[in-house]
Amino acid sequence: MHDPSILDAPPNRHLGSWALIAAVVALTLGAFGYVGGWLAPHRLTPRRIVDQLQDNAGTFAGYRRNHAKGVCVTGYFQSSGQAQAYSDAQVFASGHTPLVGRFAIPGGNPYAPDSSVPIRSMALRFAQANGQQWRTGMNSMPVFPVSTPQAFYAQLKAQQPDPATGKPDPTKVAAFFAAHPETAAFRAWAKTAKPSASFATENYWSLDAFVFTNNAGKRQPVRWRMVPEATDTGSSVGNGNNPDYLAGDLTQRLSQGPLRWHLLVTLAQPGDPTNDATKEWPADRPTIDAGTLVIEHTGPQESGACRDINYDPLVLPDGIEASDDPLLPARSAAYADSYLRRTSEEAHLPGSAVAQPKPEIK
């Protein structure tokens, strides 16, 4: 079929062909390495964000890399039907949708005292009857400090504790805020914010914008927030010596009956920024009460139904879409990385972090 003497030919006879084959292989390998990030060390990747979260807070096997301390809750959403005009999502049709949620505080340390940060968060996974899901993670502040994943990463880096003092270097933090004027609205909020005594009395904002779509093909940019029915400021549990007072407060409140929030959806008008979570929309934008969130039960996150849920904000049902907010894909990607790390630890896979006992409280 071919000339067998070719194989015995002098080595340079096919040099051009060998070089071509080597070049094609090397080029493909190089392109793969670049796209995969191995040959693009400066690109911000989910891995780098999650590594930085670990550098700041420590590595706690089995726990989320951010908002590590929290509790599971279950309940349902009772739709008012009012959002149906804007979104086809089944969750907004009349009726109720079961959900598994989680209250938490920011930071990667699952043993941090509840008073260490003024922010609380609420994450929900709505399970629609048609099998689609809506997952959302909200914070108890109206604006996010930064608008891009790059700035978020720079903020984490600036806030990394100095090994000498165990605290962030104030000059680095100041330099970060000076270089990022978009953080002004958040800093103004943080100045007056105090750690609340209860998860139940907080508002929780979506921060990022999303897009509602209806069956007529109309696209409506929105933001939403959960507004509590509970308005008291105090808590009978008291937070004197208990660093975990939020969980205690929640358990006590739920023993007396369910807790309720209203899902208020704000409709953007043309020109309102959908790609910048540092900017609030004007207060006069129309708002619809899409329904009532009813939380009935709570349990520890180590054994509760929320433990194995990744509250990825881009798991969305038909009728809700992502906006052009650059934080959304970064959250989705980083949460996925965090989820793989903690499930790998759960599985005791080689190379994953090993769980440590809870540190003694001094």
Binding site: M1, H2, D3, P4, I6, R13, H14, L15, G16, S17, W18, A19, L20, I21, V24, V25, T28, L29, A31, F32, V35, G36, G37, A40, R43, L44, T45, P46, R47, I49, N130, G131, Q132, Q133, P149, R307, D308, I309, N310, L314, V315, D318, E321, A322, D324, P326, L328, P329, A330, S332, A333, A334, A336, Y339, L340, T343, S344, E346, A347, L349
Partner: protein
């Protein structure tokens, strides 16, 4: 030499080249999306899932075509080690193109995610929810992807080696129909030394 046994059938060739593009694109999409925090992450993921299921369907079809129409035999003078490498790598490619989509599907099922192929098209779960299974399957998905990429590289290099250096008709059996091969191969035999030298 002019018989059909020397070339792949037309369906086999169409499936081969179509899937070559799809699988190579899939590998780049996969490593690209997990290494990105930009909007690329989201739109690559939206392509990744339906493309994976399309590859699974085509792989099943292709296996059926292959079992019905066995591929042409390798050249008789091919060293035994190369024959073994050829057969092993082809079966490895089949195993990987069939299992990769299934692992991805099972992995999302185990992670408790809805397996959405579009805004509204959802596949049923094929694995019970389990964080341990998710972690194992997710890592397996990555390792098999690397193995698939390396096998693809070896496959591509071997195809070029057959086409440019051995010039034994193996590459053309996937490029051309039976009649053309019969015309072109003798020409290759007459002037085996001209082209490779001129390539330098």
């Amino acid at each position: 030499m002019k018989s059909d046994a020397n070339t792949f059938t037309l369906p086999a060739r169409v499936l081969h080249w179509l899937m070559a593009i799809m699988i190579l694109a899939m590998l780049f999409i996969g490593v690209g999306m997990v290494a990105s925090v930009s909007e690329r992450h989201e739109w690559l993921l939206r392509i990744h899932k339906p493309l994976g299921i399309a590859i699974l369907i085509l792989a099943v079809l292709r296996l059926a075509v292959r079992l019905r129409h066995p591929p042409p035999a390798l050249p008789v003078d091919l060293p035994a080690a190369q024959k073994l490498a050829a057969h092993a790598s082809h079966w490895l490619l089949y195993i990987l193109m069939l299992t990769m989509p299934l692992i991805g599907w099972a992995m999302l099922s185990a992670g408790g995610y809805p397996v959405m192929l579009s805004d509204s098209l959802r596949l049923p779960p094929i694995f019970p929810t389990s964080p341990v299974a998710f972690a194992v399957l997710r890592h397996l998905h990555s390792w098999f992807a690397m193995l698939l990429f390396l096998t693809f590289l070896a496959h591509m290099a071997a195809a070029l080696y057959h086409g440019l250096i051995r010039r034994d008709g193996v590459l053309s059996s996937m490029l051309r129909g039976g009649k053309k091969v019969a015309v072109i191969e003798p020409a290759e035999m007459i002037e085996p030394a001209i082209e490779p030298d001129s390539m330098r």
